[in-house]
């Protein structure tokens, strides 16, 4: 029934505090890069999907219209897909469906967010409303606050330590320092991480991802068309999507992102593989605790052993499974609507062997894991080199 779908073009723009560029200008950089990567122009693209997380960041009722206008993609189809910080993966899912359902053969999936036009307290409010605006935001909950609650529960249940969290930050900054498109491409020490200022107890500055501007784009094609492009296709083998309760307190196990567990199960099943067959993964490390939960909830290590797993350097290149060797959200940055698409770009480039000093040798199967809010929606996608 389903048609096979490949990624045939991929690019990420420079992430950072991009005071030099508007939302649409950031998008243009990424799309131009993806088109050049695929060796095509927009005339060859049939349809488009745009991921943007927040109207309030972009001062737009319909941010996707800015994009198809600025690219002069009209009159072809485009609209916005949103799943908070998982918007990019939801757009990838819709792009995949567009090809798989036969509506189009070549589809552009764009993710872009411009987060620094607003003040930091306002950005903190916008992200805080990623929780329940009625029943949680009145208690002053911020985005780091939700993950702090996950961290506290994880620590109580499994003995995870602040050092374990800091080790994730050190790894991701180590790899981010090798990624010229990263927001903060610099190494940090364990001491720096542990001594940084408190954001939401017990999460400190270096446990948190950044407020970042940026964009990323991929071009999808049907199996019939995938050979027509410049680069080797990377196939989307399995997509999983799952949801969880709005309120963090309502979850049976606060230390587990159940939507990750369910989405991963679906993705593995559709791809017909198990977690130990993954060669390289990008997981949603919006906070260091989130990466530790991801190790466990994706099945890379048993539940509760995420702390020792990073301590043993199992997620460095050369370990059991290299994770976030692009720097992750932590060091590469987290322009929320772009993040899921940027993960797909990284895995595409890893499977093609284009990642230089941070290339995972002989990577053939990759995984992206993208979380919306504090787990309300999760997308897991599995990719394989042709």
């Amino acid at each position: 029934m389903k048609r096979k779908v490949a990624i045939v073009g991929a690019a990420q723009g420079k992430f950072g505090v991009r005071e030099d560029a508007s939302h649409r200008e950031l998008a243009f950089e990424a799309v131009a890069g993806a088109l050049k990567d695929a060796g095509i122009t927009l005339k060859d693209v049939d349809s488009m999907v745009t991921a943007v997380a927040a109207d309030e960041f972009s001062f737009a009722l319909q941010p996707s219209a800015q994009m198809h206008d600025y690219l002069e993609f009209y009159p072809k189809a485009n609209f916005r897909v949103e799943g908070a910080c998982a918007s990019g993966s939801m757009a990838l899912r819709v792009g995949w469906m567009t090809v798989a359902s036969g509506l189009a053969d070549v589809v552009l999936v764009l993710g872009a967010e411009k987060m620094t036009e607003v003040s930091t307290p306002h950005a903190t409010e916008i992200m805080g409303k990623g929780g329940d605006a009625i029943w949680e935001y009145p208690f002053g909950m911020s985005f780091p606050g939700y993950y702090a609650m996950i961290a506290r529960a994880h620590m109580a249940a499994f003995g995870t330590t602040e050092e374990h969290l800091a080790m994730v930050a050190v790894k991701n900054h180590f790899y981010g320092s090798q990624n010229p498109l990263a927001h903060m491409p610099k190494e940090i020490t364990l001491e720096q991480a542990l001594n940084s200022f408190m954001v939401a107890y017990p999460l400190k500055l270096y446990d948190c991802s950044l407020i970042t501007d940026g964009a990323a784009a991929v071009i999808l094609a049907s199996a019939d068309r995938a050979k027509d492009f410049a680069k080797t296709p990377v196939w989307i083998e399995g997509i999983g999507t799952a949801t969880d309760t709005m309120r963090i307190g309502d979850r049976e196990k606060i230390h587990t992102l159940q939507a990750t567990v369910v989405a991963a199960k679906e993705a593995y099943q559709r791809a017909g593989i198990s977690p130990d067959e993954i060669d390289v993964a990008t997981v949603h490390d919006c906070f260091t605790i989130a990466e530790i939960c991801a190790y466990e909830d994706l099945g890379f290590c048993p539940k509760g052993e995420g702390g020792p797993f990073i301590q043993d350097r199992q997620t460095y290149i050369g370990g059991a499974i290299p994770v976030n060797v692009d720097g992750g959200l932590k060091s590469k940055g987290h322009p929320v609507g772009a993040t899921g698409v940027a993960m797909a770009v990284e895995i595409t480039k890893q499977l093609r062997g284009e990642c230089g000093t941070r290339q995972v040798p002989n990577a053939e199967v990759g995984l992206t894991h993208n979380v919306g809010g504090n787990g309300q929606v999760v997308g897991v996608t599995i990719y394989r080199k042709d």
């Binding site: 903190t124 009625i134 935001y137 208690f139 002053g140 109580a156 939401a200 107890y201």
Partner: protein, 152 residues
């Protein structure tokens, strides 16, 4: 008082008035489905299992255990402080911890944890849930260590 005294943004909800008035009178209300008996917190006017609007307000249990907590040092717009007007001065806010307590029946309640040092909080500790009307007109929920002497 209005529901917005509790919710900050939202005025309109089927359960707001009753919930706010209960908070004002010192009670935390949930709802219970009159068909299947299931109880809900936060309160809601319909049962997602029965798809019916036959619900009664009930006081939720107040005794439970602390599931998790945090304290937000970098708060969102509504709870931040302004930069100091005095040159070279520094302003520091000590945040009030926030936690989630499980009170039985699967009900979880978020609330402020005032007057307790962050370092003294432990997941699993016995806690009590209490409605509270603040002097500034805000209606809210606080969580107190069980048996503790927390001044009002």
């Amino acid at each position: 008082m209005e529901f917005k005294n509790f919710s900050l943004f939202i005025k309109h909800t089927k359960v707001g008035k009753t919930f706010a008035e209960a908070l004002e009178s010192g009670k935390v209300f949930g709802t219970q489905c009159e068909k299947c008996g299931r109880t809900f917190f936060p309160p809601r006017p319909e049962c997602p299992d029965c798809l019916e609007e036959e619900m009664a307000y009930v006081e939720i249990p107040t005794k439970g255990t602390l599931l998790t907590f945090t304290a937000i040092f970098v708060p969102p717009a509504h709870y931040g402080i302004s930069p100091p007007k005095m040159p070279f001065a520094r302003v520091t806010q000590t945040p009030c911890p926030v936690g989630v307590v499980e009170v039985g029946n699967g009900l979880r309640v978020m609330g402020w944890i005032p007057d307790v040092d962050l370092k003294d909080l432990k997941v699993g500790d016995p806690f009590e849930v209490e409605a509270r009307a603040l002097r500034n007109g805000q209606l809210t929920i606080v969580l107190k260590p069980a048996g503790g002497n927390v001044p009002k």
